[in-house]
């Protein structure tokens, strides 16, 4: 191997999931002693690609080369043997063990003899790893007494064990390492990454483009499961990256903006004043009938919790919520349902639907009265109602009695949406990533449905999957930052802001 052979190379990697092409022929090169940034919107294929690199996902096609040699990575251990290791987004340390135990966990080596820990050896091995990154963390400190930043250092030290294992300069993957860190801790981490470059290659993933440009030598942008291009970071602008991430928006009316009705209502339908909770503070929010308001913010901005709080699924400590001027008492999802509020959760398969139950049962789960006569279920009434909505939303299903889990993601989402519509009493829809995991066609149908509902007077709060989606769909955008509303940006059809206007407020 000479100095110009890439440490890691990926060619034409493909991975299908039912209904989605997560990776569609990705190419990627990581050079020796290089920090490579990986950028892309949600659903661009970043996490699938990373999982393929550490053996958690087996690609359908394509090749992976480590130092010029083709490899098949079947497990994390396999990847570690080839010198590839990952610091996971959710920290993967065991909290009630010491730092040293965590560092050697899974690759104990000489630290265990005849099934028994040899504490001195373990401590020495752990100290060697910590020395590599110049950290002064006490290897015998319990992990849960360490700060987030220190725990991250422990994770990096742990991952560096693969260097001994593979006897080669390692490739370290950092998946959104900054999302839980304070700005000062981020500086420490960046110093650490620059240090790693001396003896390793690094793949760095972050949603914050300024960070990517700051710490990386080069950035590869993914879009729709493909490599959209690469940028040398010297002198590059975040806007340039962002344009590559979202691609050319094209002229086709993806978000059905022509169907956007002007908002005329004088009184707000939903009016929130000073709502506070664990992760958000003093939220003021008005949504008029027929209006779509998107809330954007980085991971940890608190927008998801605001959305759940509006539905009574997350406790609030202060503030009041009014629907059409009438105060409603939350929490409790029952009160929200009764007030005409509907919620489409982000985790469709876990929270949105009951997989083994039929389309009909899922559709009528909330508004039981729509299928009942008195206290009794009226089978004919139910059949008529459900069939009507299956037709109206073009839900592709073998029948109303089919288990919803057997439908494709887009059709499942339509059933979940229909749940709130069947009674005809919906006044406010809270959509938490309603297009997550859906392909382009299904997305477009959900967008059209949102437009139609807005036109019929339903107020909508949208947590979009991407900035582009938020800008395309919303009449108004609230930017949240660190639990507070940082800015409110008008977003009328014909006068849309650019993603950069939003990013400015988000970070």
């Amino acid at each position: 191997m000479n100095a110009s052979t890439p440490a890691l190379e990926v060619r034409g990697l493909v991975k299908h999931y039912p209904g989605v092409k997560a990776l569609d022929g990705v190419d990627l090169i990581v050079r020796q002693n290089e920090v490579l940034g990986l950028a892309g919107e949600n659903g661009a294929g970043k996490s699938t690609l990373l999982k393929a690199l550490v053996g958690l996902v087996t690609p359908d096609a394509g090749e992976i080369y480590v130092r010029g040699e083709q490899v098949k990575l079947r497990s994390v251990v396999d990847a570690a043997d080839h010198g590839i290791g990952m610091v996971f987004q959710e920290q993967s340390l065991v909290p009630n063990l010491t730092a040293a135990e965590n560092i050697v966990l899974g690759s104990e080596g000489a630290a265990v003899r005849r099934g028994v820990y040899r504490w001195d050896t373990m401590r020495r091995l752990a100290q060697e790893q910590l020395d590599k990154i110049g950290s002064d963390i006490d290897p015998l400190a319990r992990t849960d007494t360490l700060t987030f930043a220190d725990r991250q250092m422990v994770e990096i030290a742990k991952v560096l064990r693969i260097e001994e294992r593979s006897q080669h300069p390692p490739v370290i993957i950092l998946d959104e390492p900054t999302s839980v860190l304070e700005s000062k801790e981020i500086e420490t981490l960046f110093a650490q990454i620059r240090r790693l470059r001396e003896f390793a290659s690094v793949i760095f993933v972050s949603h914050r483009l300024d960070e990517v440009l700051d710490v990386c030598d080069r950035v590869t942008v993914l879009r729709g499961g493909q490599s959209a291009g690469e940028v040398a970071t010297a002198g590059a602008e975040p806007g340039e990256l962002h344009r590559m991430m979202i691609g050319s928006t094209g002229s086709d009316d993806h978000y059905h903006e022509n169907a956007a009705a002007p908002v005329t209502a004088a009184e707000p339908r939903l009016s929130v004043r000073g709502m506070s909770g664990k992760t958000f503070h003093g939220i003021d929010l008005d949504v008029a009938a027929g209006e779509i308001v998107a809330i954007v913010g980085v991971h940890g901005s608190g927008r998801e919790d605001v959305c759940r709080a509006l539905f009574g699924a997350e406790p609030t400590t202060a503030g009041e919520i009014r629907m059409d001027g009438k105060k409603i008492d939350l929490p409790g999802t029952r009160a929200a349902c009764a007030a005409g509020i509907g919620y489409v959760p982000a985790e469709r398969k876990i929270e949105g639907m009951v997989g083994p139950m039929s389309v009909a049962e899922n559709m009528t789960l909330t508004k039981q009265r729509a299928r009942c006569t008195g206290p009794f279920v009226a089978p004919r009434k139910q059949a008529g109602l459900v069939d009507r909505w299956i037709e109206r939303l073009s839900i592709r299903t073998p029948g109303r009695d089919t288990a919803i889990g057997r439908l494709s993601g887009g059709n499942q989402q339509k059933v979940v949406l229909a749940r709130w519509l069947v009674a005809g009493d919906i006044r406010l829809l809270l959509l938490d990533h309603p297009t997550r995991g859906l392909d382009i066609g299904a997305r477009s149908e959900v967008y059209r449905l949102m437009r139609e509902l807005a036109a019929s007077g339903v107020a909508t709060v949208l947590l979009a999957d991407s900035l582009e989606e938020a800008i395309g769909m919303a009449d108004r955008i609230l930017v949240m930052n660190d639990g507070r509303v940082a800015a409110e940006i008008a977003c009328p059809s014909g006068g849309k802001p650019s993603p950069l206007d939003l990013v400015k407020e988000m970070v």
Partner: protein, 327 residues
């Protein structure tokens, strides 16, 4: 709104359907196979006399299992049913002299309230139902010992509960008929009201049910109430048969009741199942208990056979396509 209709051909293979239907009948098939096997082993088994005896023995178990099935469908478990039934036999025997015919409804009511208390503790204090009812089991057993003075309470005048020990048409034990009616009643209510959707949704995925606005907590407490009421009714059946109440009288019915539920094919993880399945399961369990000695299986092998058949029966009856987690 005008949306073009674009229905696509079915995505589910037609093959899956008969299989699905078959698993619905599995508990009955298992029951029939068991009866056939017992008859082959001893042609004298399939007589009116032994069937009458078996159904009379099965009645309290059917009622206990049917009530607890609702809790299991909600994703929980009620371990206190047998202890509650024992306590109820004691209370009934103690109250019969004073209350007469009123003693039966009062005991069932008390059992219902005890069920409600456990259910409320489960949902309000957010303690797993396994733990709450394990505590309940211990408490109720002890209370039964205290109020009974740690001995059997004889019923001198059993006229108020005698009716349960009669026979319909001379062959069908009244207690068995009542048990079937109870099962039918629960099944009917579930079928014609939204309760079935609510219970299934709670059992399959509590978070999804909650976010759909389903009254999850109410449904769970309700299930515990029915479970308690059924334990009370089972106690009345036991007293009518044994002319006495005892602090440990029903204790040996706990594991058979749980076995009946799972042998019927109700998923112990919640969501999927029915009370009819538990009826079939209770009959299977009872037939094993009374049938194996009748056909001459040595008692040492009886337990081995019982265990093997229970596991095999669940392997047959559980519809795995409806159950995501097997734990």
């Amino acid at each position: 709104m005008s949306i073009p209709v674009a229905l696509q051909p079915a995505t589910v293979s037609a093959k899956a359907r008969p299989a699905r239907r078959l698993t619905g009948f599995m508990p009955i098939i298992a029951l029939a196979v068991l009866v056939a096997a017992l008859t082959v082993a001893d042609p004298g088994f399939l007589t009116q006399r032994s069937l009458t005896a078996a159904s009379r023995t099965a009645a309290p178990l059917i009622v206990l299992a049917a009530g607890a099935t609702l809790v299991v469908l909600c994703g929980g478990i009620d371990l206190s049913i047998a202890a509650l039934a024992s306590l109820s036999t004691v209370l009934l025997a103690l109250w019969l002299p004073d209350l007469g015919g009123l003693a039966t409804p009062v005991v069932v009511l008390v059992a219902t309230v005890i069920g409600a208390v456990q259910g409320t503790a489960h949902v309000l204090l957010r303690i797993p139902s396994f733990i709450v009812t394990l505590g309940g089991l211990s408490i109720l057993s002890a209370v039964a010992l205290v109020v009974s003075g740690a001995g059997t309470v004889r019923v001198v005048d059993d006229s108020a509960v005698k009716w349960l020990d009669l026979y319909v048409g001379g062959y069908v034990p009244m207690s068995f008929a009542v048990a079937v009616v109870v099962v039918a009643l629960i099944a009917l209510v579930l079928r014609v009201t939204p309760l079935h959707s609510w219970i299934s949704a709670t059992g399959y995925s509590e978070s999804a049910a909650r976010l759909a606005g389903t009254p999850v907590d109410l449904v769970k407490v309700g299930a515990f109430c029915v479970s308690g009421a059924c334990a009370g009714l089972a106690a009345v059946m036991l007293v009518s048969r044994q002319f006495s109440g005892g602090p440990t009288m029903a204790d040996n019915l706990l594991l058979p009741a749980v076995a009946a539920i799972v042998v019927g094919g109700t998923a112990i993880t919640g969501g999927h199942g029915s009370v009819w399945r538990s009826l079939a399961g209770a009959l299977v369990v009872t037939l094993l208990r009374v049938g194996l000695p009748i056909v001459g299986v040595p008692s040492a092998y009886e337990q081995i056979l019982y265990g093997v058949i229970i596991v095999v029966a669940v392997a047959l009856t559980l519809d795995r396509s409806r159950v995501s987690i097997i734990k």
